[in-house]
Symmetry: C2
Subunit: 352 residues, 2 copies
């Protein structure tokens, strides 16, 4: 009946106006401010600076190179938003979560994802209306002439790599726990960027070797990252273009946040190539921020709009779509494996 009122455009909504408020509308409309306070705190180094001990607002502002004006409001906004604590002496500290995930380059660090959201994604979303009107990418690799051209700008490249690593670290950690890795010896992450997922798997299982497959431009970033993590003995870089070249062989191939960049035919092609590259009994793991089957949950739908903004044909899709494409490519026993709050995997195997 409520929906009926709105549907017919009747003014019956006016009755009960005392109970109705625009709270939900206003909270969402203004929510970008809290985002930007958090993103900016990472950009300015607030959490890493407090990682070395409590500080007053004045000391912290000096250390971060901030003008006095606004700094106190900024730090207290971080307190109000539960990212910092402030004691009765005016000393600021990281909360437990801020310390664990943003305070230092620890295993759990996601500050690199935040930097990417801050430098790339927030400004790109300002063009959402244009993207919807035109159906074309507004920023990112696709809007810049493709990945190889985009990678020529060192700053964009570095930020993109941070986003790719920070955005897949937690999924990689979950994947290390949610898949029977003891049954397999080799794994290659296809579209690996710096190799964050392969590193998380190698960390968890000493018997695993393999590496990452990506465009030649990713060789140095991959090898540098993997070496800095101490896994260059087990993880190698495989160079190639996954549309032009065959995929490398390994017991397990991973396609994470790759298919969402491309159209359905391209996704199907990549799945067929993965099937061809796998040995008998090999497995493919696809993970994405899938759209829920009922299309009523924000996560996958908002991720899909992000692909609208950043690719020519990309979008998120459902696990049902993904399983169907995998089965068409020959995979069997396809099943869904939850990873994180945002990411889910679909796993399939190649027969004997």
């Amino acid at each position: 009946m409520a929906a009926q009122g709105a549907r017919t455009g009747s003014r019956s909504t006016r009755f009960g106006a005392d109970e109705m408020t625009p709270k939900h509308i206003l909270e969402t409309a203004f929510a970008f401010r809290a985002s930007k306070v958090l993103l900016t705190a990472v950009e300015l180094g607030v959490f890493k600076s407090l990682g070395s001990g409590p500080q007053t607002a004045a000391a912290l502002a000096r250390r971060l190179g901030l003008q006095g004006r606004g700094a106190g409001d900024f730090f207290d906004a971080l307190v109000a938003l539960d990212f910092l604590d402030r004691d009765d002496n005016g000393l600021y500290t990281n909360t437990l979560e801020s310390s664990a995930y943003l305070g230092s380059n620890s295993q759990e660090y996601i500050g690199d994802l935040i930097e990417y959201l801050n430098g790339r994604v927030y400004p790109t979303w300002n063009f959402l209306a244009q993207a919807l009107r035109e159906g074309t990418p507004q920023r990112g690799p696709a809007a810049s002439g493709g990945f190889s051209t985009f990678y020529k700008d060192p700053e964009s490249f570095a930020l993109f790599l941070k986003g790719m690593s920070g955005g897949s670290r937690l999924a990689g950690q979950a994947l290390s726990k949610q898949f029977p890795w003891l049954s397999y010896n080799t794994v290659v992450d296809v579209g690996s960027a710096q190799g964050c997922v392969a590193v998380e798997l190698a960390k968890a299982y000493q018997h695993l070797s393999g590496g990452g497959f990506d465009l030649e431009e990713l060789r140095d970033p991959f090898e540098g990252y993997v070496r800095s993590c101490g896994f260059d003995d087990r993880l190698k870089f495989f160079s190639g273009n996954f549309f032009a070249d065959p995929l490398p062989t390994a017991d397990v191939l991973v396609l994470g946040r790759v298919l969402h960049d491309w159209n359905v035919e391209q996704r199907q092609l990549l799945l067929r190539k993965a099937y061809a590259a796998l040995p008998p009994n090999g497995a493919l793991i696809v993970y994405e921020a899938f759209i829920d089957g009922s299309r009523r949950k924000p996560s996958g739908l908002l991720s899909s709009l992000n692909m609208l903004l950043q690719t020519h044909d990309g979008s998120e899709f459902t696990t049902h779509d993904c399983s169907a494409w995998m089965q068409e490519a020959g995979f069997r026993d396809t099943h869904v494996v939850p990873l994180t709050d945002t990411h889910v995997a679909v796993v399939g195997t190649k027969g004997t």
Copy 2:
């Protein structure tokens, strides 16, 4: 003990890592996407279009001039975020709240505020780090050579007016209910912009007359808006610069979202000028998005950062600060009157 762990930078946070997640960090970091979906829906006219009846995604996309790609995800994201309903036949309708506040230019309409947030505030917040480093305004009137210069750009001017009206309409409505207007006959809103607050008061009380005081550039917008609302018989425009000229006299003066644009000395000057302009027993109403006394609530602190971004010396402040300045200027019986979720008034009277 928890805070202690973070404070000393010990790795004790690792224990209990199974219970700790970065959920709060990630939700806030990504929250700008939900904001931008809502802001963009207003920009594209989604809610007004659905104000005339339910539509399929295809029909709605056509009517709004959207490419097919992304439109379905966009509409379903609005469903997932509770701004639209979708029935089993794939027909989209406004929710009750969307219908009441965004569906048409009704009394409750706040779409003009949303347009201002979308076109001005969201992109300005992208420069938060720079504003904190430099202490200078990044966008808006102050960054464009002052109000009179800024008003020369018709598009910025129009958007600014929408923001000022949309941002004060609910406060004006609350003010009409929370103040003993029957004891007063005249009211002038100082820094009135289009006159939204004066209109809300005139709507609620037939005996009230007065108007708005603002720079001469606001005469046409004020007179146009007031005439369109049917109150040009009771509400007049008073032209002037509130630093250079005396304020007009009325039983009640309102200073809403004005003091936050200026430094403390300027605020004190404006309060003294208001006191001078009031007749004996006159009242002054100051309303703002005040910072809470404990500096632990987001609303006022985030509004204050918005003033950092848009003014040279502005900021939000506490009701305690405001009462103290009012008392210094001569006001008595200062007291706090809650208005909306964001806005609070401080009221003071001039003695006999």
